[in-house]
Symmetry: C2
Subunit: 276 residues, 2 copies
């Protein structure tokens, strides 16, 4: 059985749309389907004639490398649109992460036709694409972190932001350690160690394997490294400087070296553009 529980219901959503979206103009064309954990939603994203949107639940966009290593290149949360054409040769698959993930499926052609006639639809699609860009940039930013601890920290923050509407500090991880590892480009063991590391520093609490409570959000934010584009703002090192695991008093501690190497917007304008 493929797409086992797929049942087509026309509008059927807009009811579950969980947040601050504009009134939905896309609903009319939707066919929703429910997916089980691990079930494939679309095989070659972008190659299909459909666009998709997560209504509830969570999905992952991934590729499997020749080595057998799976890489998760994106997490799709409620409200996220996916499936639009990708120019590159890369093609990713998407599958559900949590049981009963509900996905709306739109025929691309008809949606685009509708966008051509109704500017509001066009605008909404545009904004969703912008959202995608925004999220991907954040992800790139997270992946660019230097240490595993910071990656995991950033990941928790982002998750809490998107899952709990920004305030509640109790997160239920929707995915396994393996998923997190594949998402952050780490090994499972490292992810596990980082979580216990954060726990030992008193920054988070682990009440059950999947339940995380953020105790010291500020430390987490600092430790996860800045966000600010100005070198001036904020200079503390972050949670890496904190007491560290109380029992084994080894030093973590961020080196925090490397001054902006050069070619910085500064005065040296003429020297710059030579390039051989």
């Amino acid at each position: 059985m493929d797409r086992a529980t797929a049942h087509c219901t026309a509008p059927a959503f807009g009811a579950r749309d969980n947040d601050r979206r504009p009134p939905d103009k896309l609903g009319a064309l939707a066919a929703t389907a429910r997916y089980r954990n691990g079930q494939e939603i679309c095989h070659q994203e972008g190659a299909t004639e459909s666009w998709y949107r997560v209504v509830s639940g969570i999905a992952r966009r991934y590729a499997v490398r020749p080595s057998g290593r799976r890489q998760i290149v994106g997490l799709l949360l409620p409200g996220d649109l996916f499936g639009f054409p990708s120019r590159g040769e890369y093609a990713f698959s998407v599958e559900a992460v949590v049981e009963g993930t509900l996905v709306a499926c739109y025929p691309r052609r008809r949606l685009e036709a509708q966008a051509d006639t109704d500017p509001a639809v066009a605008r909404q699609i545009r904004e969703m694409a912008f959202d995608s860009v925004s999220r991907l940039q954040e992800q790139v930013f997270i992946l660019g972190r230097t240490t595993a601890l910071k990656k995991v920290g950033s990941f928790l923050l982002k998750l809490s932001e998107r899952l709990s509407d920004g305030i509640a500090d109790r997160i239920v991880l929707p995915m396994s350690r393996y998923d997190i590892a594949d998402y952050l480009g780490l090994s499972v063991e490292t992810v596990s160690r980082c979580l216990t590391g954060l726990k030992e520093r008193g920054i988070i609490k682990l009440t059950g394997p999947r339940r995380v409570t953020i105790v010291d959000r500020e430390a987490l934010e600092e430790g996860s490294g800045g966000i600010w584009s100005d070198p001036e703002e904020k200079h503390r090192g972050g949670f890496l400087d904190r007491p560290a695991p109380p029992i084994p008093p080894d030093g973590f501690g961020a080196p925090a070296r490397r001054a902006p190497p050069s070619s910085f917007s500064g005065p040296q304008l003429a020297t710059a553009g030579r390039a051989t």
Copy 2:
């Protein structure tokens, strides 16, 4: 002097548009400006009332971490649109990488108004946003590579793809090693070592610090790791298995372990949604 050489000329482009884009509907509103190497194009991307588009030259989107480390989160090549609103708290700056980078600047409101009346404009903006998504996904994919060698390999491939219209195997690196390092999340030294490593394996040639010739593209592609979503396709290890540096016959060599760990589309459906 800010934006030193900025001179406003109305259409002024479409002439330099370098590739396979649809006939340009956006030109009429543009004001173009030329930037020097290292010069800032926009400070808080997304916060401005303008959208930008690289006409010629190259720009980098970056943030500076509290540690002083600069992180490049995107490379903007000719044709790329940037500056659209980002939802997250992250704000990146954009500056020119090569001398004389030409950037078109559009008033956001007027462009959106035009998109509302002209579906072709709306469509074009949409496609540009999709392109952005596509490129960012590729970048995430590259950043997810495990080894530095693979990252650099992927980077070269992507660059050759985008800069030389896909065929020519001679690349002129538009950026310094520092930039590459900050882009790939590596140190300069590692980037340098990787390039010489690839040279010693006979995969590329370095004719001058900024001039790279891809000798064995296939090896580069294999070594940089797969692209395919099916575990079945392709199983060779890539250039890491190759003779390796002829003089120091140490073994690199890809471990290529880790089978898809679990929770794979498999039968365990009921267990999944528990989360505690």
